[in-house]
Symmetry: C2
């Protein structure tokens, strides 16, 4: 547990904060709050208050979004506001959510982002490097002061385009989170357990493979853990589900101050809980009304979802 006597945050989250324009069969939203680090930090905040957000926005970033992040206790001391436009992403999902098409990506102020980690934030024992250029993820690691546990995410763009930097990063992190296609691409291996084994040989002692509505698999020194996805009929917008998973996961780890196998399993379920809520509305909107009792309720629903009795054969 955190001593409470130090000024540093428990959890440092680095990545993108942006404005998304998203269309799904449930509707369309323009310039709404988005970005992997925004989803992760807000999700984490439900479990571990005051995660420190390290990101950049432009002068056009709405004060409403800043207020919302603050209302969720997210520490904004590391949120740079620089001259120019905020990072923007625009995409449309197939009616059945099986595919997503990116219509536009504007890096804007993100293009020249060089994460600067404050002296206090550099003391955070838990670090989540959301999906950004692995060179930037590495630069954050170089500023961090001996964190206890570092997790990172990545994507096909970096696996294909910046493999060397990514491999240098992987040699220095404890956990890699990525989706099934990314795991196959990184490992050059279609079988997921084999891909996870190959990835662990690159450095991370733990790998979490996210499979969307098929749940997530954890591979680490204590074996394998399968977290189901919550069966939802009413998916509104899948954007940020994986980032919310990572945020819920890291929030629990930071709260418990432990990475024991049992803590990591619980963290996987809490990550799944946050992800399942995330997709129930556009942007981070579902998190505006979410509270601990709802998280507790869905945690129990997850426990029921996989429960079966032991038998004698």
């Amino acid at each position: 547990m955190n001593s409470g006597s130090t000024a540093h945050p428990s959890l440092l989250v680095v990545g993108s904060v942006g404005l998304d324009t998203v269309e799904t069969r449930a509707g369309k939203r323009t310039d709404v709050l988005g970005g992997a680090a925004a989803y992760s930090a807000v999700a984490a905040s439900f479990l571990s208050p005051a995660p420190h957000l390290c990101a950049v926005v432009g002068t056009d970033f709405p004060a409403d979004h800043t207020s919302f992040l603050e209302s969720r206790t997210v520490g904004l001391g590391g949120l740079e506001r620089v001259s120019g436009r905020t990072f923007r992403w625009s995409g449309v999902y197939a009616r059945d959510f099986s595919t997503r098409t990116t219509l536009d990506t504007q890096l804007n102020v993100f293009e020249s982002f060089r994460p600067k980690v404050s002296a206090e934030a550099a003391q955070a024992p838990y670090v989540f490097l959301a999906n950004i250029d692995p060179e930037l993820q590495l630069s954050v690691l170089e500023q961090a002061k001996k964190p206890k546990f570092v997790a990172c995410d990545t994507m096909n763009f970096w696996i294909e385009g910046k493999r060397d930097a990514l491999l240098r990063l992987l040699a220095r992190v404890d956990l890699l989170l990525l989706n099934d296609e990314e795991a196959r691409l990184l490992a050059g291996e279609a079988n997921l357990p084999a891909a996870a084994r190959a990835i662990r040989a690159m450095g991370p002692r733990a790998v979490i493979i996210k499979r969307g509505d098929a749940g997530a698999l954890l591979f680490h020194e204590a074996g394998v853990f399968a977290a189901p996805a919550f069966p939802l009929e009413n998916v509104v917008d899948p954007t940020g589900a994986g980032d919310s998973f990572a945020g819920g996961f890291m929030g629990w780890i930071a709260r418990e101050g432990s990475t024991s196998p049992q803590t990591i399993r619980t963290a996987m379920i809490l990550g799944s809980v946050l992800a399942s809520y995330c997709v129930e509305d556009f942007s981070l909107d579902r998190f505006r009304s979410l509270d601990l009792s709802a998280i507790r309720e869905r945690f129990s629903a997850f426990a029921d979802l996989v429960h079966f009795e032991h038998i004698r054969l």
Copy 2:
């Protein structure tokens, strides 16, 4: 539990028995034992001895296969042997097992198969109608004497080509097992929980959606249950995995003489155990050396795979 005082079998399995020619990255096998009913009956036999097999083979069906089925206690009184060649299927799997291409299907003696259920077999309280023409599945139901629980499987070929007969069948069964693509096709709905709800409105009070290496989902009046797939690096031949799942599932139901929600959940895991062993070798070969202690061991491994501690938030 079965009283033991009656001569009838607990479980009746109807479907195909055939000779498969299969090629995977692990090798090729020619004219090996196959067919949905063979996989299902053998898988069931580990949990509920003496399942009654109702199927047809030709005069070319090797005595070795008959001996193997008998060695597994499968009741062959309903296995017709008629003049002609046995049903044959031939297929090849992609190197990553993501797709399977059927090279050849020869119905042979199966073309004129009209299942005849003996007076004893008609008393079986548990009936599994493996994937065959829904007209034949219906004809078996008409011969059965008030079974306690009827499960059936189907495939895209019947969903598209014999929808009316399939719907008449579904109105009369307790459980439909099918894979995710078949569920989407049958329901006309991409979201799996929504598809399951639509299918349950067609008749079956329970639906199991099989998702290969993403596990299986049960939807029934008591809610949803998610059974994981066992993470296997060494898949040799996926043929028959779904049929072995169904066999293990029905074998447990028949053994327990119950379809309570808890029994059904346990049956899902035992189905998953049998399916996970099935794919470790070609044809039904893994079942030749399988025993209860191996089933027990993997059941425990499944329990560990999904275990997480309850927390207070």
